[in-house]
Symmetry: C2
Subunit: 321 residues, 2 copies
Amino acid sequence: MPTADDVAEAAKRLRGVALHTPLITSPLLDELTGGRVFLKAETLQRTGSFKFRGAYNKLASMPQEQRGGGVVAFSSGNHAQGVAAAAQLLHMPAVIVMPSDAPAPKRERTAALGAEVVLCDRQKDDREAVARALAQERHAVLVPPYDDPMIIAGQGTTGSEIIEDLAAFSLAPNFIVVNASGGGLAAGIALAVKAQHPDVSIYTAEPEKFDDHARSFRSGRRENNETTGGSICDALMSQRPGEITFEINRTLVGNGVSVSDEEVGYAVAFAFRELKLVVEPGGAVGLAALLTGKLDIKGKVAVAILSGGNVDPELFHRLVA
Amino acid sequence: MPTADDVAEAAKRLRGVALHTPLITSPLLDELTGGRVFLKAETLQRTGSFKFRGAYNKLASMPQEQRGGGVVAFSSGNHAQGVAAAAQLLHMPAVIVMPSDAPAPKRERTAALGAEVVLCDRQKDDREAVARALAQERHAVLVPPYDDPMIIAGQGTTGSEIIEDLAAFSLAPNFIVVNASGGGLAAGIALAVKAQHPDVSIYTAEPEKFDDHARSFRSGRRENNETTGGSICDALMSQRPGEITFEINRTLVGNGVSVSDEEVGYAVAFAFRELKLVVEPGGAVGLAALLTGKLDIKGKVAVAILSGGNVDPELFHRLVA
């Protein structure tokens, strides 16, 4: 199990490599929600999402003798780019297994970062099994998207930066909403934040049909989603919470909210029109939960993570027009 | 003539009202330019552009007895929103004279901020004269878009924030590129920055057919543009440099660069794809100058101002798709 100390170690590894992304404020958003809102803009992170943090932490902590065979990862896109960028910086070969329906820009960008892209069918193939077989064949290390202590610790640096930047304004968070797919970002942030501020409320935010965290928190065990596709939030379509991530999140998070595709689309358009930020649908789920009032943050210092910004221009235009 | 002290006074007035916008970095942009680039994201400012700074500083420094009649301004859009928002915060009535071809979102947003919008013809009418007549009629104060000491001092707070934030990284700028229309932002930044760092190089950036600053710097006197419309940079189509602004800029800036609409379009698309920022064409002119290599910043700490993000969704899509 990763700890807050692992997040602190990850922060050292990422210094000068990952960007310390800004907390963005908007008087309009404060007015609409009644809270004091800070948006952690991981859209501005290397590769356009927080995923670079975990990937780089994982790869950079691999012993030298394991690095030669390189790495293999399976991902709908953002983790792919994160792993590819980290591997490029560390001069390691990378193979990425992606679903064939992943947005074209995500595939192209992964290839542009020097990775070999292997496509598979989201409905038919077990991506994880494909990736595992490839890793074995090439003597490469499999880099899972979330269920790994080093990945979780890397994502957690998002949380330590939030604490650090709020402290500069003599503030501490009361409330954090984290977009969740496998739950790695939520787990990492929860580890980092709860160690210093045990009273902060943390919520996961998910698309309606992929609300596995919300349901798992209620039942107390890892629940599956019934569908495997069909949300505009292509980054948030995992089948169920991770094993390690859920073990952390059930204790430190424990609450989840879900939003419809329409609500997410409104949040993407709001970010374009009012915040001048490009946010992908999966990156805007927590913001949507605030804008709809599904999460009440009146009078609170609240943080929402804008977890990614890699969106197809056509889909983006459809949502903002 | 405004001074660096006026900028310092403006910074006090704007504290807690204007946003202290972040300096955004991009490893890719550093790699492409060979410099260490910081983007001052005034796109994230209240009303989506730097114009709020000058407007609020002007209105907040008006004596109480002048405030009753309110304010009148003429603007292609961003100054309009800045004045409207400042007037709303200070509970003053505002009338904005806008060209009838200003982008619809800019007109709508100005009205939504509580201002009365009066439209006029960009080719036929002298907007400034229309505004002046309205101000006289209503016993209101005319708020010019740039040629005013308080406006210039307000915009200059952009520069003092740059200095402050770079100093936190133990850095100082070598190079600053500022998008210019009337030259108020450039003049304010130059006042603030040169007082502390006299050796920094400052350039104005303009659209090709509106390169009045570049030509005026060469000739030593205020030159006019031949056209009054037709650039995608609707925010940068002033007829000539301001009188006060040019007096400052000829001494403290002195160099200008111009870019084509195509180059600006590329910069807007780059900001969308790579930086995940929404930048309007007029706000991306300086970034375009860096991306084209027209400004050589190799080995330098360079700052470009992303001066605004109020762009029509259709135009935005045409540029990024």
